[in-house]
């Protein structure tokens, strides 16, 4: 290089200033650690959940044989001798979840398609907040609604006579809780599915319309398949919410553990067993106390598997279109 170029690049104000910080900035490091600790707290929470579930669950299986728990269909902890067949209350949960999803999937998906493909921007602007209101209603209010309105005013009058044992005169039933939970889940399915449908590129719509397709065809044959992973995710997440829902089943489904899928029977769900057994006065070492944690573990594993599936699916459609 020629000497003239060197002199041209030399800074005017003497020797070059260092770009490093003039002090060690311990404060900055401390803050980073503090914020990192806040982030780690969520991992601590998960670990604490797993530990608090596992300890008593292991204790439970020292008293109750695992095959009785996992394959038994009689849940009678208060009998002598007690029987802990978890399938009875798993069936209770699935009984309620089934009716909830039969209600929520068509209504939620219908609302999602309507909002993303049919509704004018003005209609959308009023309908979406209304669904958000529904999502914000406390479950204890929905449970009260299920047991004091859905059951006596809707199910009993509409139920076909003595079908499956008849509905009249029953204070609790799985179907009432199912419809209540279904109502709670509609906004979840609607909003996640609608997000997925809105993420489908405009070009796909327009291409289909240009080929002469009707709106119904565009929605069902173009948008629906393209948004399928998000739609499935919304349904899986809805099932997970239904399985984990407590107050609606406690109020409307009763507390009669039995292995049945009859919608007009009173049943007990896993969550309602936990909520009604583990109230303040239960003694720590008892089998009942430990059984709460064993049921909690089953519930946690079931919902965790569904949540992981749903999160994966949501991520997939995001990756494809963004």
């Amino acid at each position: 290089m020629s000497p003239s170029t060197t002199s041209a690049t030399e800074p005017a104000g003497g020797p070059p200033r260092r770009l490093q910080a003039s002090s060690k900035r311990y404060g900055e490091k401390a803050i980073q650690w503090l914020l990192g600790f806040c982030g780690i707290l969520s991992v601590v929470t998960t670990t604490a959940i797993v530990i608090s579930l596992l300890g008593p669950t292991i204790g439970f299986f020292e008293i109750v044989p695992a095959d009785e728990f996992f394959f038994g269909i009689d849940w009678t902890p208060q009998f002598e001798p007690p029987s802990f067949g978890v399938l009875a209350i798993v069936a209770g949960t699935l009984n309620v979840t089934l009716w909830a999803m039969l209600f929520a999937i068509p209504i939620g998906l219908g609302a999602a398609i309507y909002l993303s493909e049919y509704a004018s921007p003005r209609v959308r602007k009023t309908l979406k907040p209304a669904l958000e209101v529904l999502a914000g209603i406390p479950t204890v209010a929905i449970g009260f609604f299920a047991v004091s309105f859905i059951l006596p005013e809707i199910i009993v009058p509409l139920w076909p006579g003595e079908f499956l044992g008849g509905a009249t005169g029953k204070p609790f039933m799985a179907l009432a809780a199912g419809l209540g939970i279904g109502l709670m889940i509609v906004p979840i399915i609607a909003s996640i599915s609608e997000d997925a449908m809105s993420a489908v590129p405009r070009g796909l719509h327009e291409g289909a319309y240009a080929l002469g397709a009707t709106r119904a065809k565009v929605a069902l044959r173009v948008i629906f398949p393209a948004a399928l992973s998000g739609i499935v995710a919304s349904i899986v997440l809805g099932i997970s919410r239904a399985v984990g829902e407590t107050m609606i089943v406690v109020l409307a489904a009763g507390s009669t553990p039995q292995f049945t899928f009859n919608p007009v029977e009173s049943i007990q769900a896993m969550t309602s067993y936990i909520a009604t057994t583990a109230t303040g006065d239960i003694s720590t070492g008892s089998v009942d106390y430990k059984s709460v944690f064993a049921v909690g573990t089953v519930l946690f594993v079931m919902t965790l598997v569904m949540n992981v599936i749903a999160i994966r699916l949501v991520r997939r459609y995001r990756e494809v279109y963004e």
Partner: protein, 313 residues
Amino acid sequence: MAGGDPGVARNRLATAGARATTQAMLRDQPRGDVIRNAVFAGLLLLAVLIALAGLAALLIQAFLKGSSALSLDLITNPPSTAFPEKAGYRPAIIGSLQLIAGVILFVVPVGIGAALYLEEYADNTRWWNRLIEVNIQNLAAVPSIIYGILGLAFIVRGPLDLGFILAAGSLTLALLVLPMVIIAAREAVRAVPDSIRQGSLALGATKWQTIRTQVLPASIPGIATGVILAVSRALGETAPLLLVGATVFVTFDPTPFGTDGYSAMPVQIFNYALRPQEEFQALAAAGIIVMLVVLLAMNSFAIWLRNRYEQRW
């Protein structure tokens, strides 16, 4: 002179012909398709209407059942089994307010801290940072009753051993809604464009100075919205409180660390709802009205806040 030029006339003729053909084709969609389209639209509208009817029925039913019990007694009187006509929600309301205060005290610093760490500091290629992220998404979907079990085994008893006090319930609710706050705060922080950060750093500010003076102020409306929504969730949550000692017949005003028990609004509603007598059913419905009014006000405020201060860069 318009029509005189044969070229223009020919163009017009061609355009009109093309338009007529296109319209004829569009109108001549197969009859079945047109009918199916109309039926489908009708079904979709029906789905929306059923959901809205459910919401409307819930609100109307609560109002019809509860209006007879709506009075000032509802807020000022303690619960009572002997005199349902005089019973109210006073200790439950005070308990809920204290629970919520505790939730806010915990969730705001920790939630914002975690969000800032994940958005500003964390290196996404490191496995532990990805673990934190996935973990938060999973935690947000864990059933609330499981948090009740956590509260019972870890906060009330076990390692923290706080006993059945209001503060334990508050901490349980805080852990329950923390993932919601983190997710909302992250979105708010992510929405601040990088040019703002780079500008600040170029002027010589340190990383924390940049976050404190530029990033945080710009993301406060989004964070506040998330916090309000999380708090309204915590306010309506019942199941975990049943496990961590929110007992029902508390006739005195609860305190955060008092060992005599505490109550909360939704727990009290739940208890009234379990009683078959007409008076208690009315009390439950009236409590639901009070809670829905508060929650609706909070949610509308959150939505207003989001729209009002939403910054467009």
